[in-house]
C-alpha cells in the first residue's frame, strides 16, 4: 500500500496507515465502517486511501455509481458502497478506498476508516454465519479483535460484481 502525493486541485493524501513489511501484509486488515457496521478487508486489496473530492457524475449509470475522479492522471470510477448495499448510518470521515478489481481500478466510498489491525488466521472464524447485507460469497469470515468482532469481506470482488450501467 502506498502513500499518495497531492495532485493539483483534487485529492490530497489521507492519513495512510503505517507502511508495513510486505511479508506481513497478508495478515493486516483495514477497518472501515459502512453505515453502522464495522467491516474489514485485507490490506492487499487496498491500493490507496484518498479523500472524497471532485467527483464528476457520469450519465447513464446507477445512482450509487457516483462518477469519476482524477487519480494522478488516471480517470477512475467511484462507487458508494453504503448506498449500494442500502446501509444507513452515521457518516464519518468519508474516504475512498482505491481497489484493483478484475475490471480495473475502482474507488469505493466508505463512511469511515478506522485503523489497520493485524488479524491472524486463527482469529478468523470462517464458517460463522453472519447477518450482513453482504452476500456470503464475498465473506472471508468473522475476525475476532481484542474487544469486538468484524465482518471480513473481499472488497474488490464485491464491487466488481455489478453492471453499474442503467439498462
Amino acid at each position: 500500500m502506498q502513500h499518495n502525493e497531492p495532485t493539483a486541485g483534487t485529492v490530497t493524501g489521507a492519513a495512510a496507515p503505517p507502511s508495513s513489511d510486505s511479508a506481513d501484509e497478508s495478515h493486516r486488515y483495514l477497518m472501515f465502517s459502512l453505515g453502522a457496521e464495522l467491516y474489514a478487508c485485507s490490506l492487499t486489496q487496498v491500493r490507496e486511501v484518498i479523500k472524497v473530492a471532485s467527483i464528476k457524475p457520469v450519465p447513464y449509470m446507477v445512482p450509487h455509481f457516483k462518477g469519476v475522479i482524477n487519480l494522478r492522471g488516471k480517470i477512475i470510477g467511484v462507487v458508494d458502497l453504503s448506498q449500494k448495499l442500502n446501509l444507513k448510518g452515521p457518516q464519518g470521515q468519508r474516504l475512498i478506498l482505491v481497489t484493483e478489481t478484475t475490471q480495473g481500478l475502482l474507488g469505493v466510498i466508505v463512511d469511515d476508516v478506522a485503523s489497520v489491525e493485524e488479524i491472524l488466521p486463527e482469529q478468523i472464524a470462517k464458517d460463522a454465519a453472519a447477518e450482513s447485507k453482504i452476500a456470503p460469497q464475498f465473506f472471508e469470515g468473522i475476525g475476532k479483535l481484542k474487544d469486538r468482532l468484524v465482518h471480513i469481506v473481499r472488497l474488490a470482488d464485491i464491487v466488481a460484481d455489478e453492471d453499474y450501467r442503467v439498462a
Binding site: T10, K56, N70, Q103, L105
Partner: protein, 583 residues
C-alpha cells in the same frame, strides 16, 4: 508441457505470421513472373525456417507438412522442376494450408489438419504426374490480379489476345525482386506503447499550459523564456516520435488485398488489373487490423459484383482487362481510402426494387430519394439476403458489417457510381491521436469536453429562428437549413438522478442565451444545446474503465485544466442515436 515450451510456442506462432506474409509476397511475385533465383530462394528460406522452428517447439505435424513444401521449393531452386501453372497453384495452396494450420494452432495448440489431399498433389507434381486437381488446370495465365507494375506479365496478356490495354504501372508500387533485407525490428507490447503515449500526451498538454504563462508574460527571465521555447520544440518532436510508434506500414494489408483480387478474378475468370497508389502510407495498428476484413470485402465485391463478365464488357466496348484501383492517402488528420472499379456501376432502379422488396423503403418514397440516399441503402442490414452471400463475397460479411466496423473507428464510408462506367467507395478514417483539441462546454453547471473535430459550427440560438414542430420537437433555422435542437442537459442529466430538471424547465425559456453545437451526421446537420462554451483546451483522451463501456455519447475521459476529471462527449454518436436511418 512446461511453461517455457508454451511461451516458445506462442512466440513461434507470432513469428509464423510474419513468415507467412513474407512467403505470400514471394509467391505473388513468382506468380507475376519473377522466377529468379533470389525470389525462389526467399520462398525456400521461409519454408525451411518454418520446418525447423515448428519442430523445435513441438508442432510436429506442421513441421512435417512444411518439410514437403520445402521439398517442392528445393526442386524449384535446383531448377529440376518445370514451372507450370499447376506448380504456381500448388505453391498458393501450400501457403494457404500453412496459414490454416497456424491459425488453428493459434486457437488451440493441439490442432491437427488433414493434409492428405494436398500432400498427394505435391507428390504428383514432384513425380511429374499430371495434376490431379481440376482447379489447377483452370488457372489460366491471363487471369492474374497481381501488382500492375510488373512488366514481365505483359507478355502473357498479349499472347492471349486481350484487346488493347497495356498494363500501366501504378505510380508507387515497385516490387522488390531482390532478397528483402532482414528488418531491424523489435516486438513491443502495445500496452507499453499506450503507457508511453499517454505520458507523452500529458507532457504535451501540460507543456502547452506552461507556454501560456510565457505568452502572458508571467515568466520574467529572458533566459527562461528562451529555454522554454526551445524545450517546446523538443516536446513536439517527442510527440511526433511517440505517435509514429503505433503506426505500421499498410503494405501487408495491400498485399492481402492483391491476393484477394487475384483469387476472385481467377475463380470467376475475369481479368482484373489491381492498381495501388499509396502503399507507403502508415496507419495506426488497430485501424489497420480493423480495416482488413472490411477492405477485403469491398475489394472482392468490386470484382464479383462490380466488374462485368468479359462478354458483357466486350458488348459495351469496354477494355477486356478491368481495373480495380486502391488509393490510400493521408490528408491532415484523416486517412482517405478509395476503392474504384470500372465495372458496370450501381443500378439505382435495381437497388430500389430490392430495397422495396425487403421492406426497407416505402414504394411511394422511392422517387424522392437522391442517388446518394439510394446507394446508402446498400449499407443497411438486411439488404443482402443470406441466399446471396456467395462463396466469393460471403463469409458473413455484408456491407452493413463493413459500415459498422468503419463507424466504430469513427470513420465514414460513402459510395458514388455512374451506371455503365463504374463505382467508387470512399472511406475516411480519423488518425486516432490521443491528444485532441477540445471545446470545454458547460451543461447544468458541469464541464464537458466536445472534440473540436466534431463541431461544424457553434452559435447562439437567440440569433436564429426556432420553433417547435409537433411530432418532431424543437428545430432551428440556420441560414436556410432547418435542423433539430437537442438539449444535452436533457440527454445527459436526465439520467443522473436528483439534479435533473424537468424538460419544461430546461428547454423553452424565452430570451434563451443558450449555445448550440452543430454536428453533421450522414450528411444531415443536428444541433445540440449547451449552457455556454467556456473555451478550448488540448486534452489527452483517457480510456474509461470497463464498467463505463458503451455509454451513449460518452467515449472517453480527460483531465480538465483545473485538474477536474471530465467526460469527452461524442456528438456524432448521440446524433446517430437520435436519428437512426430514416427512409
Amino acid at each position: 508441457m512446461s511453461n517455457e515450451m508454451i511461451e516458445l510456442q506462442k512466440i513461434f506462432l507470432e513469428e509464423a505470421q510474419d513468415l507467412l506474409v513474407k512467403a505470400e509476397e514471394g509467391i505473388m511475385a513468382f506468380d507475376a513472373g519473377d522466377h529468379s533465383e533470389n525470389r525462389i530462394n526467399d520462398i525456400f528460406r521461409v519454408a525451411h525456417s518454418f520446418k525447423g522452428s515448428a519442430k523445435s517447439v513441438g508442432f510436429n505435424d506442421l513441421s512435417a507438412f512444411s518439410h514437403k513444401f520445402e521439398d517442392l521449393l528445393s526442386r524449384l531452386k535446383s531448377r529440376s522442376l518445370e514451372i507450370t501453372p499447376a506448380v504456381t497453384a500448388i505453391l498458393f495452396k501450400g501457403l494457404d494450408t500453412l496459414k490454416e494450420f497456424v491459425a488453428g494452432l493459434t486457437a488451440d495448440t493441439a490442432f491437427t489438419m488433414d493434409v492428405m489431399s494436398i500432400l498427394a498433389e505435391i507428390a504428383d507434381i514432384l513425380e511429374g504426374r499430371p495434376a490431379s486437381d481440376p482447379h489447377a488446370a483452370a488457372t489460366q495465365p491471363h487471369t492474374s490480379g497481381g501488382s500492375s507494375s510488373h512488366v514481365e506479365g505483359l507478355h502473357l496478356f498479349e499472347e492471349e489476345g486481350l484487346p488493347g490495354r497495356s498494363r500501366r504501372p501504378a505510380s508507387k508500387t515497385v516490387p522488390e525482386s531482390t532478397a528483402s533485407p532482414q528488418s531491424d525490428a523489435i516486438r513491443v507490447a502495445t500496452s507499453k506503447l499506450d503507457a508511453l503515449l499517454n505520458t507523452v500526451g500529458e507532457l504535451v498538454v501540460n507543456y502547452n499550459m506552461l507556454m501560456e504563462h510565457r505568452a502572458l508574460g508571467t515568466v520574467s527571465s529572458e533566459h527562461a523564456m528562451h529555454t522554454m521555447g526551445y524545450t517546446l520544440s523538443i516536446v513536439k518532436e517527442l510527440q511526433d516520435h511517440a505517435t509514429s510508434l503505433r503506426m505500421v506500414p499498410v503494405k501487408p494489408l495491400v498485399q492481402k488485398l492483391q491476393r484477394a483480387v487475384r483469387d476472385v478474378s481467377t475463380h470467376l475468370s475475369r481479368p482484373v488489373q489491381f492498381d495501388v497508389i499509396g502503399d507507403h502510407v502508415e496507419l495506426e495498428k488497430t485501424v489497420l487490423e480493423k480495416m482488413t476484413d472490411p477492405l477485403t470485402h469491398i475489394v472482392r465485391n468490386a470484382v464479383d459484383h462490380g466488374i462485368e463478365p468479359p462478354e458483357q464488357r466486350a458488348a459495351a466496348h469496354k477494355d477486356g482487362l478491368a481495373i480495380v484501383r486502391l488509393e490510400i492517402q493521408q490528408r491532415d488528420d484523416q486517412v482517405e481510402i478509395v476503392v474504384e472499379d470500372d465495372g458496370g456501376g450501381l443500378d439505382r432502379d435495381k437497388i430500389l426494387a430490392k430495397a422495396i422488396k425487403q421492406g426497407l423503403v416505402k414504394p411511394e418514397r422511392a422517387e424522392a430519394l437522391a442517388d446518394s440516399e439510394v446507394f446508402a441503402l446498400l449499407f443497411l442490414p438486411g439488404f443482402s439476403t443470406k441466399a446471396e452471400v456467395t462463396e466469393i463475397s460471403g463469409r458473413g460479411v455484408g456491407l452493413d458489417v463493413v459500415k459498422r466496423a468503419i463507424e466504430e473507428l469513427k470513420g465514414s464510408i460513402t459510395v458514388s457510381s455512374t451506371l455503365g462506367k463504374g463505382s467508387r467507395f470512399k472511406i475516411l478514417l480519423p488518425q486516432s491521436f490521443s491528444i485532441v483539441a477540445g471545446m470545454v462546454v458547460l451543461i447544468e453547471g458541469r464541464r464537458y469536453i466536445v472534440p473540436v473535430s466534431q463541431l461544424e459550427e457553434a452559435l447562439e440560438y437567440r440569433h436564429y429562428q426556432s420553433e417547435t414542430v409537433t411530432g418532431v420537437g424543437r428545430v432551428v433555422n440556420v441560414r436556410g437549413t432547418v435542423m433539430p435542437v437537442y438539449s444535452l442537459s436533457e440527454i445527459l442529466h436526465k439520467k443522473l438522478g436528483p439534479r435533473s430538471l424537468s424538460s419544461a424547465a430546461t428547454s423553452h425559456s424565452p430570451n434563451d442565451r443558450r449555445t448550440g453545437l452543430i454536428t453533421a451526421h450522414e450528411g444531415r446537420k443536428v444541433s445540440f444545446e449547451v449552457d455556454e462554451i467556456l473555451g478550448q483546451q488540448q486534452v489527452v483522451l483517457k480510456k474509461l474503465g470497463r464498467e463505463m463501456e458503451d455509454l451513449p455519447g460518452v467515449t472517453a475521459g480527460a483531465i480538465l485544466a483545473n485538474g477536474e476529471p471530465g467526460l469527452v462527449l461524442d456528438l456524432v454518436d448521440l446524433a446517430r442515436r437520435k436519428q437512426p436511418h430514416a427512409a
